[in-house]
């Protein structure tokens, strides 16, 4: 249906330049449609008149299947935004932008904008001399970007691979996805900065970088090009390149309580950051402010100045221009500097004690939560007085902590400190609540004494043991559940097939990976952990019309997760049968016959398959110590055009702000329902915009649809936690669980996080809230002549209707 040709739609013939939106130079008389002498500068410098009809014809080539778009509108608006003497490139880009700007009215313009952009990119790639996949890879190698092995592989199987490129896959992309891909994922020429690969070449290159033979490469390419599964960003960035750093996450243990170790960590963090990794780093072993330094007989300045240095280091490392470095620091709440730690992200106070680039997380032992509940005291203890605390969890920690309390630096009320944590969450969204004891007790990796999980990662979904000389690493990828769901339900066979392929390719990354630090290179081959995640859960719920907080939604999400973990275990057991178990297998709980649902004491539904996989693991072990983790998928969900991981929609209408610009995102499921009812009108669109993406005030919408299309702000957060807790037995690492409160209070937060802890969740992630005031809306109608607000009399001034202002009765 769509040919791989330029926007003009004509198949390129030899000797004829690819047609662009730019009109061809012609000796014909200037058509009447041209707008007051508007001209475009061609690549050769010549000025030619703009012809709306030609622009129209170019747009019309790309509207197949898009019955709601109006090509004439795009063409005329494009021409009207042009200035005399604009370049042909500007005209092409403006056409893309113009189509994109109509998405708010009609979501199909997203696909049109995507196709126009892909066409533009394709032309840029051809202009650099790459007209096939293998030419693109060769060019990339010539420019020092593609690795030798990948080049050799591609050249060896050139014809087969070139023939595998299927541009009909391009039709699946939405505009935001393609824009993201074009700006950040496609390899660019090092000098002229234009892309040297098309979206399809890119995906095939990623597949080739992970494959041993062409059949395997083509099969994996087909899977990812279908957008049913995507590897994580570092794999999408770096597979097949010279620096094959394909892991997303690194978990660095706390530096030891000495200067050399601290500076070694800075170095390690910089190296890990450079090649796209997100960093979690603990800091609980470093002594607090005022502790004695024996070497100099001085007193320590505590951890804050060191974290300030880390902050600057993280900001300095730019991940190849694709995103800023990012790190999260974990601290246990018994550390004497915990209160200053919680202020690191405040936007007031002394700048030398603020770290605007670091994320912060609390690594909380159960003992702390118990004392919060009991309204008891809490002791702050210097790690130089109790160096064993970071390595202990469960009853052993409780005992050591209680024994160390007599050396406490300071005693606070546990609730006061908990309140401070809640305040930090509300004010900065940071200071994530992650639970040390659950994380350790329910991990496959802590089956032998001495193995401790010291922290989670940047996004709180990875939980892996590490130590001073082992930095934990994880490779991620996520299944798009939306692409496995139809109105009839989940396609379980397809889901199983996707999991099998995904696990094999995640496992392979471990061997092909480039490890930026020695500590990471030591850890990963021993444990071989991977993190298979999920995205598009909300898409599946919308498709099946399940309200997010309904029992059926919870049941489906749990069954999907069981299917994923079970199939992943089966696949990993199969890999172990062929290649042997991972070397640390004897240290795992699986080696003792305990799989993750057993640790939870959870009910499984597919009992026969669970029994089968247990028998296989007992015989041959597992290739991977950990298999499932639900990452936030912010960027890859954009590429796949689905909702992020396990999250509810944040709004029916919102914008994404990224390094590529701003993008309007509209709930296409809602639009479909509204259209079917004849309600997709300018008036309703404005009502939705006025309500910032809520549909609760639209009288014409039936109650069941209002219920279905609630936003994250409108859902009870208890339901999000309960869904997470129900699927947790089938996630052997953890999940990036965001919570949403439009106007948080300490009371709501303290209740919510206590419930999260009691539900047995290992970790939680951002607290999202909304600004107290906002920019005045510019494009919704002004409320008709404002009714004057009468001045209140003295009696009215203490009315209960103004409780915020009135303290008379308090």
């Amino acid at each position: 249906m769509v040919s791989p040709c330029a926007i003009g739609g004509r198949v390129d013939s030899p000797g004829k330049k690819a047609m662009t939106l730019t009109p061809e130079k012609s000796s014909e008389s200037v058509p009447a449609q041209r707008r007051h002498g508007m001209r475009v500068r061609e690549r050769d410098g010549e000025l030619t008149p703009v012809d709306v009809h030609r622009v129209l014809a170019a747009v019309e080539r790309w509207v197949t299947g898009l019955d709601e778009v109006d090509p004439l509108r795009v063409a005329t608006r494009t021409v009207s935004g042009l200035y005399d003497g604009a370049t042909s490139d500007e005209l092409d880009r403006l056409a893309v932008q113009t189509a994109a700007e109509l998405i708010g009215e009609e979501p199909q313009y997203s696909k049109l904008a995507a196709r126009l952009l892909i066409d533009l990119v394709g032309r840029q790639v051809r202009e650099q001399g790459a007209t096939t996949f293998s030419e693109s890879v060769a060019l990339g190698h010539e420019q020092g970007l593609i690795g030798d092995d990948t080049l050799a592989f591609v050249l060896r199987h050139r014809s087969e691979l070139d023939a595998a490129v299927d541009v009909t896959n391009d039709l699946r992309f939405e505009y935001f996805g393609v824009r993201t891909v074009a700006d950040r994922y496609l390899l660019k020429h090092p000098v002229n900065r234009t892309p040297i690969e098309t979206p399809q070449y890119w995906l095939l290159r990623v597949a080739c970088g992970l494959s041993g033979n062409p059949a395997e490469a083509v099969a994996f390419y087909r899977l990812i090009a279908s957008l049913a599964y995507l590897p994580s960003s570092p794999t999408l960035f770096n597979s097949g390149t010279r620096h094959t750093q394909m892991s997303s996450c690194f978990l660095v243990d706390s530096p030891k309580d000495e200067l050399d170790s601290i500076y070694e960590r800075y170095h390690q963090v910089a190296k890990l950051s450079k090649f796209s990794g997100g960093i979690g780093i603990a800091w609980s072993r470093v002594r607090g402010r005022g502790a004695l330094i024996r070497g100099t007989n001085g007193k320590s300045n505590g951890i804050v100045p060191f974290l300030k240095t880390l902050d600057a280091g993280v900001a300095a490392v730019n991940q190849g221009g694709r995103r800023k470095g990012a790190a999260c620091v974990y601290l246990e709440p018994w550390h004497p500097d915990i209160e200053e730690f919680l202020e690191l992200r405040d936007n007031t106070g002394e700048e030398s004690r603020r770290t605007h680039n670091l994320n912060l997380a609390n690594w909380i032992p159960d003992e702390f939560m118990r004392r919060v509940e009991a309204d008891a005291d809490w002791s702050l203890i210097d790690p130089s007085d109790a160096p064993e605390l970071p390595d202990l969890f469960g009853p052993a920690f409780d005992e050591a902590y209680r024994a160390a309390e007599k050396k406490a630096v300071k005693t606070v009320k546990a609730r006061d400190l908990y309140g401070r944590m809640m305040r930090t969450l509300a004010q900065t969204g940071n200071g994530w609540m992650t639970f040390k004891d659950r994380s350790n007790a329910l991990s496959n990796q802590t089956g032998a004494p001495g193995n401790t999980i010291h922290l989670s990662n940047l996004c709180t979904e990875i939980l892996e043991v590490n130590s001073d000389d082992e930095t934990a690493v994880c490779n991620l990828g996520s299944i798009n559940l939306g692409a496995h769901t139809t109105a009839g339900g989940v396609d379980w066979e397809k889901l199983r097939a996707t999991v099998r392929t995904a696990v094999v390719f995640l496992d392979r990354v471990i061997d092909l990976n480039y490890y930026p630090s020695a500590q990471a290179a030591t850890s990963n081959p021993r444990w071989r952990p991977v993190g298979l995640g999920l995205m598009g859960l909300q898409d599946a719920f919308f498709t099946l019309r399940l309200p997010f907080d309904s029992p059926r939604a919870r049941e489906l999400s749990t069954r999907v997760q069981e299917e994923i973990l079970l199939t992943a275990l089966e696949t990993s057991a199969g890999l172990a049968e062929r290649f042997g178990p991972h070397p640390a297998f004897p240290e795992t709980r699986a080696a003792h016959g305990d799989l993750h649902p057993d640790l939870w004491g959870a009910q499984v539904t597919q009992t026969a398959r669970w029994a089968g996989v247990k028998a296989r693991i007992a015989a041959h072990g597992l290739r991977n110590s950990l298999l499932v983790a639900i990452a936030p998928t912010a960027t890859i969900a954009s590429i796949a055009g689905c909702y992020e991981c396990i999250e509810p929609q944040v709004s029916n209408l919102f914008k994404r702000e990224t390094m590529s610009g701003e993008f309007l995102q509209i709930n296409t499921y809602l639009v479909r329902e509204l259209k079917a009812r004849g309600l997709w009108t300018a008036r309703i669109r404005e009502a939705i915009r006025r309500a910032e993406g809520s549909v609760q005030g639209i009288a014409e919408l039936p109650a069941d649809l209002k219920e279905l299309f609630r936003t994250a702000w409108e859902l009870p957060q208890r339901a999000l936690i309960d869904l997470a807790a129900a699927r947790a037995p089938f996630i052997d690492q953890s999940q990036s669980l965001n919570l949403f409160l439009a106007a948080p209070t300490i009371g709501k937060l303290s209740s919510m996080y206590l419930h999260a802890w009691k539900s047995g969740l290992k970790t939680s992630y951002y607290l999202r809230s909304r600004p107290a005031t906002r920019i005045q809306q510019a494009t919704v109608a002004v409320a008709p002549a404002v009714a004057p607000i009468p001045a209140l009399t003295a009696a009215e001034a203490c009315s209960l209707e103004n409780p915020e202002s009135c303290e008379a009765c308090q």
Binding site: M422, K655, M659, E662, R689, S751, A772, T773, P788
Partner: protein, 331 residues
């Protein structure tokens, strides 16, 4: 009444609690210049076309002095005559915000314009750049129009003061700044100058509140003294807005003179007329132009933002949080 001359010091019982609420809301949105990272903008600036660079340099030159002018009018005129302690609390807060804006744009110029002579020239834009000078002249005229009034005794005094309030809300913050807003949003929708965009986003969030407060004051006075709003006043407001639109259009012609694709001077005029119509509607006056907003990228600013935290600093968090630890609140 709100404009009665004097120095009301009594907060209880509170006469204008909605002013006090605005004061408290504003505090929740405290931000500081240190939070804005302008560093990445430098690479973008180098990549812009000469026409876009011209646009940015003119825009920044306008910002260099715009907020200072508003702050001056606040101190010299508004604070004096809005005789409500809760209203003055809000104005004090607004003054602080204007100061933060001035600091932000100072920081921006210091970062964007490393050459000290060029920097001095940018700050002198009100004298040297005709398109900016004309806007400044418009502002000064309206500051001066009430500068000598010490007490608003007569109806005429009060009308003159209201015109000053309306000028700063509808024309300066509501049109000049909204014009600037459109350029920044245009750039942002194309993914360049993130630092400028995030700082300006916060500036505009504050400015929206300033404008809303000023319109509250106007509404309040109208409720208390409806006879101040006569046909003559309406005519003056229309003339004032029409002049403001012309000032801003000539500024747009200067900014866009080298041609920026996707932002034509004709569309800009239509946008400004559209904004002016909205200001009239808020004041209960018939729109003059009947123009529509031609910029789809402006629609983006009316919807919730969702940042990918790897890429952008999230601007949505609240500063003031209340309550104490409990375990049985609903969530």
């Amino acid at each position: 009444m709100l404009l009665d001359p004097g120095m009301d010091l009594t907060l209880r019982p509170m006469k204008y609690p909605h002013f006090f609420d605005r004061f408290k809301d504003a505090i929740k949105n405290t931000w500081t210049v240190d939070e804005v990272d302008l560093h990445a903008d430098l690479a973008d600036l180098a990549r812009l076309t000469p026409a876009e660079q011209h646009l940015v340099s003119r825009l920044v030159a306008f910002f260099a002095t715009g907020d200072t002018i508003v702050a001056n009018n606040l101190v010299l005129n508004l604070y004096q005559h809005v005789n409500s302690p809760e209203g003055r609390l809000y104005l004090s807060r607004q003054l602080f915000e204007e100061a933060v804006h001035v600091q932000f744009y100072l920081n921006l110029l210091d970062t964007y314009v490393p050459d000290s002579d060029e920097r001095a020239a940018a700050f002198a834009a009100v004298d040297n750049i005709p398109s900016i000078a004309r806007k400044a002249e418009f502002c000064f005229t309206w500051i001066d129009s009430v500068f000598d009034l010490r007490r608003l005794e007569t109806k005429a005094d009060r009308r003159a003061f209201l015109l000053n309030v309306i000028c700063f809300a509808a024309c300066i913050e509501g049109l000049f700044f909204y014009g600037a807003f459109a350029y920044v949003y245009f750039l942002r929708s194309r993914g360049v100058l993130q630092g400028l965009a995030s700082g300006t986003n916060w500036v505009f969030r504050d400015e929206s509140m300033h404008m809303a407060f000023a319109f509250d004051v106007v509404d309040q006075v109208r409720a208390e003294e409806p006879d101040l709003f006569d046909a003559e006043m309406e005519r003056q407001v229309r003339d004032m807005l029409a002049e403001a639109v012309e000032c801003e259009v000539q500024f747009a012609e200067d900014l866009l003179e080298q041609g920026v694709s996707g932002l034509s001077p004709g569309d800009m005029r239509e946008y400004l007329q559209h904004v002016a119509d909205r200001r009239l509607q808020v004041l209960g006056i018939e729109p003059m132009y009947g123009s529509r907003n031609p910029f789809a990228f402006m629609e983006l600013q009316d919807v919730q933002e969702l940042s990918n935290f790897f890429e952008r600093r999230v601007s949505a968090y609240q500063v003031g949080v209340t309550g104490s630890v409990t375990f049985d609140d609903d969530f």
